[in-house]
């Protein structure tokens, strides 16, 4: 049974502010067990894609940087290149986008480093004995660090159900090449009845895999690499969808990649899940949309499976929010399966596989930090 610590989001008086109480959660994490004084500690964050606005507020990240420093560690912040960093696939472009959001040293205490190099090709290839993957390219900086803190903004995920600790570890911890491997099954299906032929998806596709044919558009399976966010996110009509089998394969690849990243970090990994601004899309989407459930608080654990299970359980206990995808999916009532209702993908399957794969346990003891 794993321990998951919980810090409630509600703030009622000055000393009870989140920033004031955050220190208790950081202390409870027992981070000194993960590294020696002077060690490099990588802190994995999501700077988020251009157009996404519900990213984690930088002061929360700064608090973690300062905690590592206070404990004698030498922290550095990383994100890894996205499948498509806006108009360019070079790291400076993502850094420019993130600077404009406040992810800079003067705000965070440290500059954000692109953890997989200038073009996303600085990696260490680690073997995996998985159903889906034989290996994955892990971001070099994680392989170099002595410890890893994974700071995740929790959201739903249209193809994994949940974006939490496992997704941040597995997808976020992989270099660009590894991300392509993880996403490869996600080749979208175009539904002709819904397609308007507007071509917005064609403009987004890096690979030129969408082309006009007759009256409509088709997706060329040969060319499609499955990066999927750009075309599906661009479609105003929901005409591009991913089928259930592909989603499950994607979930398994996330888990398998996560296990490799965990090994690369020598097992010295701690996870913080921030359940704020829990929107329908993860940070690497080009837009955020309204939160689907109210803010919960912050959860923390050594065990990413237990942490994501606790995260799901909290989300299920919450009511859905009006004027959000929760309302559109009929998921306003508290109750199990909320994310499955909203995304069509069951995140519990990912956690089941993760437990099977040895990444952790779904059974946890919740300890509230007050």
């Amino acid at each position: 049974m794993a321990t998951v610590y919980y810090l409630d989001a509600r703030e009622r008086y000055t000393q009870g502010s989140l920033m004031a109480r955050l220190q208790m959660l950081l202390d409870a994490a027992e981070l000194p067990a993960l590294f020696q004084p002077g060690d490099w500690v990588a802190i994995k964050i999501d700077v988020s894609e251009h157009g996404y606005l519900d990213y984690l507020r930088p002061p929360l990240i700064r608090a973690i940087v300062e905690q590592i420093q206070a404990l004698g560690g030498d922290p550095f912040l990383i994100d890894t290149t996205y499948l498509n960093s806006g108009a360019s696939t070079l790291s400076w472009n993502l850094l420019e986008t993130s600077a404009h959001k406040g992810f800079v040293a003067s705000v965070l205490g440290k500059d954000v480093i692109l953890g997989d190099g200038y073009t996303g090709n600085e990696y260490e290839l680690l073997p995996i004995e998985g159903e889906e993957l034989g290996g994955v390219e892990v971001a070099r900086s994680i392989a170099e660090a002595s410890a890893l803190i994974v700071v995740s903004h929790v959201t739903a995920h249209p193809f994994a159900g949940l974006s939490g600790a496992l997704a941040n570890l597995g997808i976020g911890g992989s270099a660009r090449r590894g991300k392509w491997r993880i996403h490869a099954p996600l080749q979208p299906i175009l539904i002709p009845e819904r397609c308007n032929g507007c071509g917005l998806c064609m403009e987004e596709c890096l690979k030129g895999a969408i082309r006009a044919e007759g009256d409509g558009l088709v997706v060329d399976d040969e060319l499609c690499a499955g990066c999927v966010y750009y075309c599906t996110a661009a479609c105003p009509y929901g005409a591009l969808v991913v089928d259930g089998i592909a989603a499950q394969r994607f979930q398994k690849r996330i888990v398998e990649a996560a296990s490799a990243v965990h090994v690369a970090a020598l097992g010295n990994v701690h996870f913080f899940n921030f359940l704020f601004d829990i929107g329908p899309y993860p940070d690497y989407y080009p837009f955020s949309d309204s939160a689907i459930v109210p803010d919960v608080g912050i959860l923390s654990s050594r065990d990413p499976v237990a942490l994501d299970q606790a995260t799901l359980d909290f989300i299920d206990r919450m009511p859905g929010l009006p004027r959000s995808m929760a309302e559109e999916a009929g998921a306003l009532a508290p109750g199990p399966g909320k994310l499955k209702h909203i995304t069509g993908v069951d995140p519990e399957l990912m956690l089941e596989y993760a437990e099977q794969f040895g990444l952790g346990t779904r059974r946890y003891e919740l300890v509230e930090v007050r």
């Binding site: 490099w40 003067s106 170099e144």
Partner: protein
């Protein structure tokens, strides 16, 4: 007051880690006991000269960050501060708070590079100040001190020592004497409206008959450069509304630096400007409790022009070093003595004052600026700011293992991090052997020797150097 003031000095040369100017500056901060000016929790103003846009001899940001770091180490809460300026040239980049911060960022002074906030001490428009009475003032009887300095608990007066076209020299006295005043204070010490227009002190020395009028290429810049709209140049010539003139120097700067002679200064102006500056410096000191201010100066890039000038010329002397003291008059006295004793930097004489050559041992800045730089020191003695009687203590850092490590980016060798990296994966071995010409077949390096270049050097378009090469 028979006791000499101590001034610490470390020279600009360096041959190992401990001798970097950054390290010496940090060492002097403690040698001169400037750390004693700071109590835990004190707000500490680190007064610098941010430098005008396109000025290329301002202090390098790390020379300031070095002191910010030590103030923090003492438990102080530092902020880097400079004030807005008068519009002393038509394209002045520091006349409002917003422009000055943009200007500061371009020079590399940002919160990120300093490790602390960068503040404009007299607010957006420059009127945020505190009025201070100066009963001992030799020219000024009041000062208007920038609010951020007046309200700080402590201050490190971190100056760049160089010349100045008006005050002849700018060091620690000038950094607070001019730089620590609000806009109001700067106009006041420019001596605006002192005497009458015909005295040419509280107003420019104006020779309308020498103005080229509308035929002057820069007559529009002259008119536009006046923030009060006091100047009109038309077919009838040059006209100034003396009621409106606040003596910002803009018209004089336009005239002088474009090689004209109509709007200028009389020689008497410069000593009075220095004396007023020392009074104003006293005003800043009076806003601090005794013992709460330390003074430091970097005498490098010792340009005859100040950082307020939007260009830099060749320096007057080679780099001299860094100074620290608790007495602002003593430190400037020591710096000026060192500048005058220092060798002349070849080619180093302000091009605007051609024909004047520096000679070692003479008052260098008196030669180019037209007035001795030492009036400000005597005024500082007479108004109680400090003493010219100093004892110079030369500091050399010890070459020990601890001292090498002390001011580095980490106190343990970073090579150990890379050692662990190689142990995990040696990415050089993966590509070795490197593709090169086999060692036995290497080309003789002698084939790559370049013969004597003297013939080509003599063709360079720099007359003095070519002459020096001889035949």
């Amino acid at each position: 007051m028979a006791e000499k003031a101590k001034v610490w000095f470390a020279d600009a040369s360096a041959t190992n880690w401990t001798e970097s100017l950054v390290c010496k500056a940090k060492d002097l901060f403690y040698e001169a006991k400037l750390n004693e000016c700071i109590e835990k929790g004190d707000s500490v103003a680190i007064k610098i000269h941010i430098g005008e846009w396109n000025r290329t001899r301002c202090l390098r940001p790390e020379l300031v960050a070095a002191i910010v770091e030590e103030v923090k180490a003492c438990g102080g809460q530092p902020f880097v501060v400079d004030t807005t300026t008068l519009t002393y040239h038509a394209y002045n980049s520091r006349c409002t708070g917003a422009l000055e911060l943009e200007n500061a960022a371009r020079h590399g002074f940002t919160e990120a590079s300093m490790g602390c906030p960068v503040v404009i001490g007299d607010g957006f428009s420059g009127d945020d100040d505190v009025r201070v009475e100066l009963p001992t003032g030799v020219v000024l009887k009041e000062a208007y001190v920038a609010a951020a300095l007046a309200h700080a608990d402590a201050m490190i007066n971190l100056a760049h020592a160089k010349g100045h076209p008006i005050t002849s020299f700018g060091g620690c006295i000038k950094n607070i004497g001019i730089g620590g005043q609000s806009k109001r204070g700067k106009y006041h010490e420019h001596l605006a409206h002192w005497g009458s227009p015909e005295d040419f002190i509280g107003w420019p020395a104006s020779y309308p008959e020498k103005c080229l009028g509308v035929k002057c290429e820069f007559h529009q810049q002259c008119m536009d450069g006046c923030p009060r709209g006091a100047i009109r140049i038309d077919e009838t010539g040059f006209h100034r509304d003396t009621e409106k003139c606040y003596l910002c120097y803009s018209c004089q700067v336009t005239c002088i630096f474009t090689g004209h002679e109509s709007q200028t200064f009389i020689p008497d102006y410069f000593p009075y400007a220095q004396m007023a500056m020392s009074d104003a410096a006293l005003g800043v000191m009076l806003t601090f409790e005794p013992g709460k201010v330390g003074h430091m100066a970097y005498a490098i890039d010792v340009d005859p022009n100040c950082d307020c000038i939007p260009w830099a010329t060749l320096p007057a002397t080679p780099d001299i070093g860094v100074f620290a003291s608790k007495d602002p008059v003593a430190i400037d006295t020591a710096i000026l003595d060192m500048i005058d004793a220092a060798p002349v930097y070849p080619g180093g004489a302000n091009k605007a004052f051609e024909g004047r050559e520096y000679k070692r041992g003479q008052e260098k800045f008196a030669i180019t600026q037209g007035a001795s730089p030492r009036y400000q020191l005597m005024a500082g003695v007479k108004n109680g700011l400090g003493t010219m009687d100093y004892e110079l203590i030369t500091y050399e850092p010890p070459l020990t293992r601890e001292h090498v490590a002390k001011w580095q980016i980490r106190t343990t060798p970073t090579t150990l991090i890379v050692r662990r990296m190689w142990e995990k994966r040696d990415f050089l071995k993966e590509v070795q052997p490197f593709k090169r010409v086999p060692f036995a077949e290497k080309p003789p390096y002698q084939d790559f020797a370049v013969p004597d270049r003297t013939e080509y050097l003599k063709k360079l378009p720099v007359k003095e150097w070519v002459e020096a090469l001889g035949k």
